[in-house]
């Protein structure tokens, strides 16, 4: 039940364009005893349906920068494969600490650098 409430909250947040995953993953980790990798895969998969729905609206509104899109995706695929393979070979404890550093940086960025 707690997880359902948390995921509604993270959905609300990502619907507002703030990035739900960076909230969802630490909450999953701190409230249930799952490994870092499982929490991350939950977020990766749950992003797929919500992003697909959002994407349809964006395509209709013509907000996609097509000139950049395919180059970004092509380089991104290489990065995604490297990153995911690395994640599946690191121990959960170490990945958690790395994630915490990443999260800390994003938190500082959200507070200090964004004006809107």
């Amino acid at each position: 039940m707690l997880i359902f409430i948390v995921s509604i909250l993270s959905g609300i947040i990502s619907g507002m364009g703030i990035g739900g995953g960076t909230i969802l993953i630490p909450v999953l980790i701190l409230t249930s005893g799952i490994s870092q990798q499982i929490a991350q895969s939950v977020n990766l998969i749950s992003f797929i349906p919500t992003a697909s729905i959002a994407l349809i609206t964006h395509i209709k509104n013509g907000n996609i920068e097509k000139k950049l899109l395919f180059k970004l995706i092509a380089a991104g695929i290489l990065g995604a494969v490297l990153g995911s393979i690395l994640a599946s070979y690191i121990s959960s404890a170490i990945l958690r600490k790395m994630f915490a550093i990443f999260l800390f940086c994003i938190g500082v960025y959200e507070i200090c650098c964004k004006k809107k």
Partner: protein, 130 residues
């Protein structure tokens, strides 16, 4: 003279292409490694490095991160790193949440929310290390 101008143009193009590929590579890598945050990297990178307007950057970010998340999910799946029951709970919860979020978007100040969640992220980061 014209040749020099032409060459400068080509170098500029290569530099811009290099920037695009680096941004894509970094976003894909961190999105795969941490299962999140690809959008958090790619939106400001597009705005500051690639001169894309903020609104277009958000939309393009989703179009880029979506296929990358599918590929990363597949690799996590291959390594047996998926809890389907938990995932389905979160999928339905976050879809409901995304709907509510889009409806109430204009009723709250996003700036204030950002600061609250930024603080929350810093606190949970500290909690995750200790």
């Amino acid at each position: 003279m014209q040749n020099i101008i032409k060459e400068c143009g080509i170098i500029k193009n290569y530099r811009y292409l290099f920037k695009i590929l680096s941004v894509g590579l970094a976003a894909g890598f961190f999105n795969g490694l941490f299962g999140s945050g690809g959008g958090t990297i790619i939106v400001p990178a597009m705005v500051f490095l690639l001169d894309v307007k903020e609104q277009k950057a958000h939309a393009t970010a989703i179009a880029v991160i979506l296929p990358l998340s599918i590929i990363s999910s597949y690799i996590y799946f291959k390594h047996n790193l998926i809890d389907w029951r938990l995932t389905m709970n979160v999928v339905f919860g976050s879809m409901a949440g995304a709907y509510i979020g889009a409806k109430i978007l204009n009723k709250f100040s996003a700036g204030m929310l950002r600061k609250i969640f930024g603080a929350f992220m810093i606190l949970s980061a500290i909690r995750m290390v200790f």
